[in-house]
Symmetry: C2
Subunit: 371 residues, 2 copies
Amino acid sequence: MKRSFIREILESIDEETISFAGGLPNEALFPLKDIEKSAMNVLQNSKVLQYSLSNGLKSLREKIAQYYNDEGFETSADNILITTGSQQAMFIIAKYFEQKSITIEEPSYLGAMNIFRMNKLDMKPVALEADGIDIKAFQKSLEETKLAYLIPDFQNPYSSTYSQVKRNTVAYLIKENDAYLIEDSPYSELFFTSKKRTISSMIPNNSFHLGSFSKTFAPSLRIGWVRANEELIHELMKIKESIDLHSCGLSQAILNDYLSDSQLFKQHLQTIRNDYKDKMEYFSSCLKAILPEFKFKQPKGGMFIYGYIENVDTKKLVFEALKHKVVFVPGSEFYLDKSSCNEIRFNFTHSTKEEVKEGLIRLKRLIKGEL
Amino acid sequence: MKRSFIREILESIDEETISFAGGLPNEALFPLKDIEKSAMNVLQNSKVLQYSLSNGLKSLREKIAQYYNDEGFETSADNILITTGSQQAMFIIAKYFEQKSITIEEPSYLGAMNIFRMNKLDMKPVALEADGIDIKAFQKSLEETKLAYLIPDFQNPYSSTYSQVKRNTVAYLIKENDAYLIEDSPYSELFFTSKKRTISSMIPNNSFHLGSFSKTFAPSLRIGWVRANEELIHELMKIKESIDLHSCGLSQAILNDYLSDSQLFKQHLQTIRNDYKDKMEYFSSCLKAILPEFKFKQPKGGMFIYGYIENVDTKKLVFEALKHKVVFVPGSEFYLDKSSCNEIRFNFTHSTKEEVKEGLIRLKRLIKGEL
């Protein structure tokens, strides 16, 4: 099995390496004091340390359901399954659809592709465009697979966002084909200007909507969720139960306590958005100034800048870059079968401004043959 | 898929029901104050909230390795994979051996049987005796399957413990057949008088030894582990990574901080053992006084008392008992295919003395037809 390049890199790099590789949130923004306060609150009762239900803490599921209702997407706590990160939600769904075929965007999230491979799903790639998937090819593929995995908001790695027209069309085609959509939305809240309507809200019974608190709260707590109709949630819950009985109860209780002050989370989200927008603009300006041969479009949210450098094999480049203590993810990793590729994914949220500048200067010197 | 009876019961029972069903630790013994203190310690640094390595926190793996070394079982941090409860370790191993055959004890742990079913392992049951598995039948089965799942210490549900002779024989047979042993040890530390040598220590390259902090620290933190040789750990880690990237980082850090005072954990373990021994003796004496038709042997550790009542279908009984707000697990649940059975598993660790008495009185009246 092919491992995640990003996870392998995380293991091998040292503290000194400037990493544009992982999708790491900015640590400085973690609500450390608020989490400490919530931890104190919930650790007054030993029940928080006992085994709990496989589908997750009810009051947390209710709060998540409320977010959907606030956006006009009718949802109850019974439509929600809490998972150990949205990664686990994906694994569970893949296990549920084991050995079936699935339409995916290309490029796509490496972690999802690994999960699909592990659960023997036959992946059918369809090209991703600036405003979403190639609809003609998607329609043809979906007729065969009846199942699709899409990341409509600030796609990983491509950073594109689906237009409203493509959202409507995808929803129509899913329904028309009696198919299912797995809508992965870890970055939806990380918009710089506005949020688009989820595709799932148009097809509530034919969709799995995946969310995560890893990018908006704290990744180490490993709290994600999936929203689906009750029958599907019940099927997924049986798989979830077999995998780990339930997700960390302390994490769930801390998050639930934190979310009970709804203003706190709203303000926190806005802080992250402002910071990431600033970081994206800084990274973009550095790219233009230092590495103008890298061609890209500025993203409208999320954590990544995606582009290419003509005539450069970026997989070769990254191994050279690692020697000089800077790392990114080469585009080849996001394709099913591509050994050579000139694309690069940069994460812009984790590094400091000094690191961004220094890392890009090193890359520039490498490409110029000066290192 | 057959769901866990115990998990279904946990969902449907109310606060008033006296439950002898789940394997719930005694909440009153959770080291709540120490966990609060450790939480405060580790929440001084935002790194604890960031993504971390898939195999688990290194200093925690080192501490677990040290426990093995203290018992003369040579182990390094690289032999350990931290998992989301030992339940997840089992799922990962089952996924690794997908579609193979496996020898299991009968009766056995329902959660493991569900995992094996889900990963299409063909289970070959061998009868469990008071001193461990039926060796002759085990030998014959192992020649075919080359893989075995055993719970040698205070078995769930049977409460039996393997004799030293059977441990040696199992190790010999595993090696002789070039087979693998999955040794599940969630209860090993819950002994009333003494601890026996793990079978895995005699066959370090042919074994997976599973451990858990759910029974000795706090279940909600979902921290378990598997010990195996480095090559196997690396293979399991790839699966682990796909399932949830890594287990809760905050839980791992809290536990690691707590364990840094080795005396604290030693004393805590002794407190649990004393309490559980006391509870087991009380439960036994109540059974003898109130429900003498229930035949059983006193366990030497663990969390369960297992026995039978002649001419009583305990699956029918439990549904009647639920109406009168008392619950246990009927023996049929622990067999691959048994619709009627006169066996019962009682958990003795969770209920108060008053609840034990009251619950057993209700059962007695039910059996006598008074309710």
